[in-house]
C-alpha cells in the first residue's frame, strides 16, 4: 500500500489523477475497499488540506528526512550565515520570509526515500575496498561495468593521439558533431542492429541516456499524459521521466502500441552487454519490415553500460520520426556532449577492430561473472531468472521474506544493507508486483569478491531461516 501512495505523492501538484492501485487489486490483499479507497481518500484529503493552507516550503522537515548525502552541503555552508529573513517578516508587507520554490523541489525530496537511492548513499559513505575497507558496504546496486575497462585503458594509452583543442573549442552543433554521429551509427549497426544499419542523420547526441529519455518525454507527451512501462523497471525512470515533464508512468505487462496509436520508446542501453543463449533483437529490426510503424519508434542508446564510460555522458536518441528528430535536436542544447569527449569517443568508436574485440571479450567476462555469481547464490538456495544480458541478475529471495509482502521485502533489504552490508535493489523500487525479488549487479566485482558477498548473504539467510 505504501507503493500506491508513493506513486501518487510523486505526481506534480498541478492536478489530481486517479491512479489505479494495481498492486492492491492483483494481490487481492486487504480488499479493494481497504486497500485502495482509504489511502486514496486520505491522499485527496491531504491535497485539499495542503492547498488551503498554501504552506511555505516546510524546509526543516524535509531536511531532516533527507538521507545523508556524500558531501553534506549543509554542514559545509556554516561560513555563510543563514539570512535573518524571519526578522524581516516584521518589515515586509505581509509576505513570508523565504522566497517560494517550485513544486518540483518538494517532489524530489520525497523520492530520495526510495531504497534505491538510500542504498547508493550508504555505499558512498562507506564503500567496500578489498584492502583498505574490507568491512565496507559492497556495491551490487549500481549497474556499472568494471570488468573490461582494462581494454579501454590500453586503447587510451596506445592509441589516443588527439590534440585536445584543434577545432573543438568553438560552438559545435548541439546535437553532436557529424564525425561522432557516423561513428555511433557504426557502433549501433554492429552491436544493436546486426541485420539493420543505422543512419547517422537520425541520431541526436545527448549527455547520457538520462536526458535522451527526458527529451523524448517532453517531445511526445504533455504534462498529465502517461507512458505505459513494463514492470519491473529501472527505478531511475520514476525521476527521469516524470520529474520535470509532468508525465505519468503506468506499470503494465502488455504491448499494443499500434492499436492505440501511441509511441514506443525502446531503451536499448545494454545491447552489447548480452551473453546468453538468446539473441538480442532491437526494435529497429522489428520495424524495418513495417513502414507504418516507423514514426512511432524511438530508440535510446549510450556508452555508459556497453562501453563502461558513464562519466563521459554520451547518449543517443535514434528516431525514424523527422518531427521528433527536429525537436530533439533543438532540445538537446540543454544536454549536449562535451566536445573533447566527442573527439575521444569518435576516435575510439572508429577503431572498429578494437570495438569488435572489446565487445567479444566483454561478453565472455560478463558470462563468466554471471555464472560464478548465480552459482554462489544457488548454494544459498537462492535462484535467479535465466538471464541473457545486462549487468545484473534478478534473484528470487521470496523464500526468505516474512511476511510475504513489500514490508517483508524491505525488512530483508534493510538487513542486507545494514547487517550484511550489501547494497542490492529491492523489487519494490522497480515496481515489481511480486514481493521478494532483488536486482543484484555483479559487474563491479572481482572474482575474489564473490565468496565475500556470498558469505555475507549467508549470514543473513541463516537468520531468516531460523525461527524468529
Amino acid at each position: 500500500m505504501e507503493d500506491e501512495s508513493r506513486e501518487q505523492s510523486q505526481s506534480p501538484s498541478t492536478g489530481m489523477r486517479l491512479i489505479v492501485p494495481l498492486q492492491g487489486i492483483v494481490q487481492g490483499r486487504g480488499g479493494l475497499i481497504l486497500g485502495s479507497v482509504i489511502p486514496c481518500a486520505m491522499f485527496y484529503f491531504l491535497q485539499f488540506y495542503l492547498k488551503r493552507r498554501r504552506s511555505p516550503p516546510n524546509l526543516p522537515h524535509e531536511q531532516t528526512s533527507n538521507p545523508p548525502s556524500p558531501t553534506p552541503s549543509s554542514s559545509n555552508l556554516t561560513e555563510l550565515p543563514r539570512s535573518a529573513s524571519r526578522s524581516s517578516l516584521l518589515l515586509s508587507r505581509g509576505s513570508i520570509g523565504r522566497p517560494h520554490v517550485s513544486s518540483r523541489v518538494h517532489s524530489i525530496a520525497k523520492s530520495n526515500d526510495s531504497p534505491y537511492y538510500i542504498g547508493l548513499d550508504k555505499v558512498s559513505a562507506d564503500p567496500y575496498d578489498r584492502l583498505n575497507n574490507p568491512n565496507g558496504v559492497i556495491q551490487l546496486g549500481l549497474a556499472e561495468n568494471r570488468l573490461t575497462l582494462d581494454l579501454i585503458e590500453n586503447w587510451i594509452t596506445e592509441r589516443l593521439n588527439e590534440s585536445i583543442l584543434s577545432g573543438i573549442a568553438t560552438y559545435q552543433p548541439f546535437d553532436g558533431m557529424t564525425e561522432l554521429k557516423v561513428a555511433m551509427a557504426g557502433l549501433m549497426s554492429q552491436v544493436v542492429g546486426r541485420t539493420v544499419t543505422f543512419d547517422p542523420s537520425q541520431i541526436v547526441l545527448t549527455s547520457g541516456a538520462t536526458p535522451a529519455i527526458e527529451i523524448l518525454c517532453f517531445a511526445l507527451a504533455d504534462p498529465g499524459n502517461a507512458f505505459l512501462i513494463p514492470a519491473p523497471y529501472y527505478p531511475g525512470f520514476d525521476r527521469d521521466m516524470k520529474w520535470r515533464t509532468g508525465v505519468e508512468l503506468i506499470p503494465v505487462h502488455c504491448h499494443f502500441a499500434r492499436e492505440k496509436n501511441i509511441h514506443i520508446i525502446s531503451d536499448e542501453l545494454f545491447a552489447a552487454s548480452t551473453f546468453g543463449d538468446e539473441e538480442f533483437v532491437s526494435m529497429a529490426e522489428i520495424i524495418d519490415s513495417e513502414d507504418t510503424d516507423k514514426d512511432r519508434v524511438h530508440i535510446v542508446y549510450g556508452l555508459s553500460k556497453d562501453l563502461s564510460l558513464p562519466g563521459f555522458r554520451v547518449g543517443v536518441i535514434y528516431s525514424y520520426n523527422e518531427n521528433v528528430l527536429t525537436v530533439s535536436r533543438k532540445m538537446t542544447r540543454f544536454s549536449p556532449v562535451s566536445a573533447p569527449t566527442q573527439r575521444l569517443v569518435t576516435s575510439m568508436l572508429s577503431d572498429t577492430t578494437f570495438i569488435k574485440n572489446y565487445t567479444e571479450i566483454n561478453r565472455e567476462r560478463l558470462r563468466a561473472m554471471y555464472d560464478l555469481f548465480v552459482e554462489g547464490l544457488k548454494e544459498l538456495g537462492i535462484s535467479c531468472t535465466k538471464s541473457s544480458g545486462g549487468l545484473y541478475c534478478w534473484c528470487d529471495m521470496s523464500g526468505l521474506i516474512r511476511p510475504y509482502n513489500e514490508k517483508g521485502e524491505l525488512d530483508l533489504w534493510d538487513k542486507l544493507l545494514n547487517v550484511a552490508k550489501i547494497n542490492i535493489t529491492p523489487g519494490s523500487s522497480c515496481h515489481c508486483i511480486e514481493p521478494g525479488w532483488f536486482r543484484c549487479c555483479f559487474t563491479t566485482l572481482d572474482e575474489t569478491d564473490i565468496p565475500v558477498v556470498i558469505e555475507r548473504i549467508r549470514l543473513v539467510v541463516e537468520t531468516c531461516k531460523s525461527p524468529s
Binding site: 556524500p70 547520457g208 555522458r313
Partner: protein, 481 residues
C-alpha cells in the same frame, strides 16, 4: 458502406509543436544566411561575415600554449590509473578538484572581491542548461520571470520552452542608456500581476548581453532591495564577468551580498560558464552558484540531465586551478577585448555610427536609429535585411532582443581575426557612404517637389556636396516625373 479508416499519424506534445523554441526570429534567420554563404578570407571574400555570434576567439593561443606545455596535468598521460576512475565517475556533485577550480576562477575574475564556496557550485553542461534548470526550480508553469530588455534572444527559448514559465520584460530605454530603474521594476511586476501571473524572480545579465555594459553598483542594490521587498528570487547571469575591459568596473551580486553580510542571500543565484570568458563553448561547462541550500540540493539532483563529461572536468581542473596561468589569461584577455572594442567603435564612428558606451562583453550595441526610414520594428528589419543582403554582415536586430526602441543592433567583434573585422568595418563604411549619398538625393527630390525650390537653392542649402550630387539629383528628379 465501406469507410476508409485512415490511421491518424501519431501525435507529438504541445511543447514539440509550439513556436517557443523561438527559432523563427530574425536572430536565427541571419545565421542561416551565414551558413549558406560564410565569409572566408581566401575562398570566399565576398561571403557573409558572422557578427551575430558571441564567441571569444581572441585569446585562444593562450589556451593552446598552456595545454601544450602541461600535457601531463590535462590528460591521463601514459600512466592511466586516473582514467578508470574518471571514466566511471558520474556523481552529480562533480569532481571536487574541478569545483574548487571553478570557485577559484570565479574569485579571480572578480579580483578577489568575492568568495565562492565549492560546495555551492552545481555543474551543468553549459549556461543554457543552468538558466533552464534554475527556472524549473524557482518557478511553476505559468509563473513569470522579470527580465530587463534588451535581452539575449535565446532566453525566450531557454527560460520558457520546456518550463512553461513566462518572461515579462522590464522595459529599459535608450534615454538613460538602458539602465534598469526602480520604476521599471515596479511597472513590470504590476504588469505581470495584472495578467494574473505569479512573479517568481528577476533575471539579470551582468555584464549585459546585448548592451556590452556592466550594471552599476547602485542599480544592483536597488534590484536586490526590490526582490527582497517582493520576496522573490534574483538570478544574476554573470557569464561575461571575465570579459570586462577594466576589472574595477564590474560589481558582482556576490560582492553586494558579502557587503550585506549575506542577509537575504537565500534568494540569490549566480549563473556562470566558461563559454565566453575562456572561449570554450564547445566544452559545455556551466554552473549554478546558489546561496540557497535547498536550491543547491535540488539543482544538483536535476543536473543529472545535464552533467559535464568527467573527462572535461578532469582536463580543466588543473588548468583552472593554476593561478599563475589564470591570472595571466584573465589580464591579457581583458586587454585584447578592450582593444577590439575600441577598434570597432572607432571604425563605426568614422562611418558615422554611434554605439552605446560599453565596457564589457564580446559585442557592441550599435545605434542605427537615425538611419531608419521609419522608427519602427519594420524599419529596423528593413535595414537589417540590407545589412545581410547588401553589406553581407550578419548582425542581430534589437527587436530580437525585445528592445523598446527601434534601430539598435548587437555587433560581435571577438569571433574573427582583426583582418576580418577590418573588412567588416570597411564594408559598413562604404554602405553608410552610399546610403548618405542616396539619402541626400532622396531628401532633395522630395523637398523639391513639395517646396518648389529652385535647383540652385537646394544645392546651396546642402552646401558642400560635389557636382556628383547635382547629377544624382537631376537624374532622380527626372525619374520621379
Amino acid at each position: 458502406m465501406a469507410i476508409e479508416i485512415v490511421q491518424p499519424s501519431v501525435g507529438l506534445s504541445k511543447i514539440a509543436v509550439s513556436e517557443t523554441h523561438g527559432e523563427n526570429s530574425p536572430y536565427f534567420a541571419g545565421w542561416k544566411a551565414y551558413d549558406e554563404n560564410p565569409y572566408h578570407e581566401k575562398h570566399n571574400p565576398s561571403g557573409v561575415i558572422q557578427m551575430g555570434l558571441a564567441e571569444n576567439q581572441v585569446s585562444f593561443d593562450l589556451l593552446e600554449e598552456y595545454l601544450e606545455s602541461n600535457q601531463e596535468a590535462t590528460s591521463w598521460g601514459k600512466n592511466v590509473s586516473g582514467f578508470r576512475e574518471n571514466a566511471l565517475f558520474q556523481d552529480y556533485h562533480g569532481l571536487l578538484a574541478f569545483r574548487k577550480a571553478m570557485a577559484s576562477f570565479m574569485e579571480q575574475v572578480r579580483g578577489g572581491k568575492a568568495k565562492f564556496n565549492p560546495e555551492r557550485i552545481v555543474l551543468t553542461a553549459g549556461a543554457t542548461a543552468a538558466n533552464e534548470l534554475l527556472t524549473f526550480i524557482l518557478a511553476n508553469p505559468g509563473d513569470a520571470l522579470l527580465v530587463p530588455t534588451p535581452y539575449y534572444p535565446g532566453f525566450d527559448r531557454d527560460l520558457r520552452w520546456r518550463t512553461g514559465v513566462q518572461i515579462v520584460p522590464i522595459h529599459c530605454e535608450s534615454s538613460n542608456n538602458f539602465q534598469i530603474t526602480p520604476e521599471a521594476l515596479e511597472s513590470a511586476y504590476d504588469h505581470a500581476r495584472s495578467m494574473n501571473m505569479k512573479v517568481r524572480g528577476v533575471l539579470i545579465t551582468n555584464p549585459s548581453n546585448p548592451l556590452g555594459a556592466t550594471i552599476q553598483r547602485k542599480v544592483l542594490e536597488q534590484i536586490l532591495d526590490f526582490v527582497t521587498r517582493k520576496n522573490i528570487h534574483l538570478v544574476s547571469d554573470e557569464i561575461y564577468s571575465g570579459s570586462v575591459f577594466h576589472s574595477d568596473e564590474f560589481v558582482s551580486i556576490a560582492e553586494i551580498l558579502e557587503s550585506r553580510n549575506y542577509k537575504d542571500s537565500e534568494r540569490c543565484h549566480i549563473v556562470y560558464s566558461l563559454s565566453k570568458d575562456l572561449g570554450l563553448p564547445g566544452f559545455r561547462v556551466g554552473t549554478v552558484y546558489s546561496y540557497n541550500d535547498q536550491v543547491v540540493t535540488t539543482a544538483r539532483r536535476m543536473s543529472s540531465f545535464t552533467l559535464i563529461s568527467s573527462q572535461t572536468q578532469f582536463l580543466l581542473a588543473s588548468m583552472l586551478s593554476n593561478k599563475e596561468f589564470t591570472e595571466k589569461y584573465i589580464k591579457i584577455n581583458r586587454e585584447r577585448l578592450r582593444k577590439r572594442y575600441e577598434m570597432i567603435v572607432d571604425g563605426l564612428k568614422k562611418a558615422g555610427i554611434e554605439c552605446l558606451k560599453g565596457n564589457a562583453g564580446l559585442f557592441c550595441w550599435m545605434n542605427l536609429s537615425p538611419y531608419l526610414n521609419e522608427a519602427t520594428r519594420e524599419g529596423e528589419l528593413e535595414i537589417w535585411k540590407k545589412m545581410m543582403e547588401e553589406v553581407k554582415l550578419n548582425i542581430s536586430p534589437g527587436s530580437s532582443c525585445r528592445c523598446s526602441g527601434a534601430g539598435w543592433f548587437r555587433v560581435c567583434f571577438a569571433n574573427m581575426s582583426e583582418e576580418t573585422l577590418e573588412v567588416a568595418l570597411r564594408r559598413l563604411h562604404e554602405f553608410m557612404d552610399r546610403r548618405r549619398n542616396g539619402q541626400k538625393t532622396h531628401d532633395l527630390s522630395a523637398l523639391a517637389q513639395v517646396q518648389s525650390f529652385s535647383l540652385g537653392d537646394i544645392c546651396r542649402l546642402f552646401g558642400e556636396r560635389s557636382k556628383d550630387l547635382k547629377s544624382d539629383l537631376i537624374s532622380s528628379l527626372s525619374d520621379s516625373r
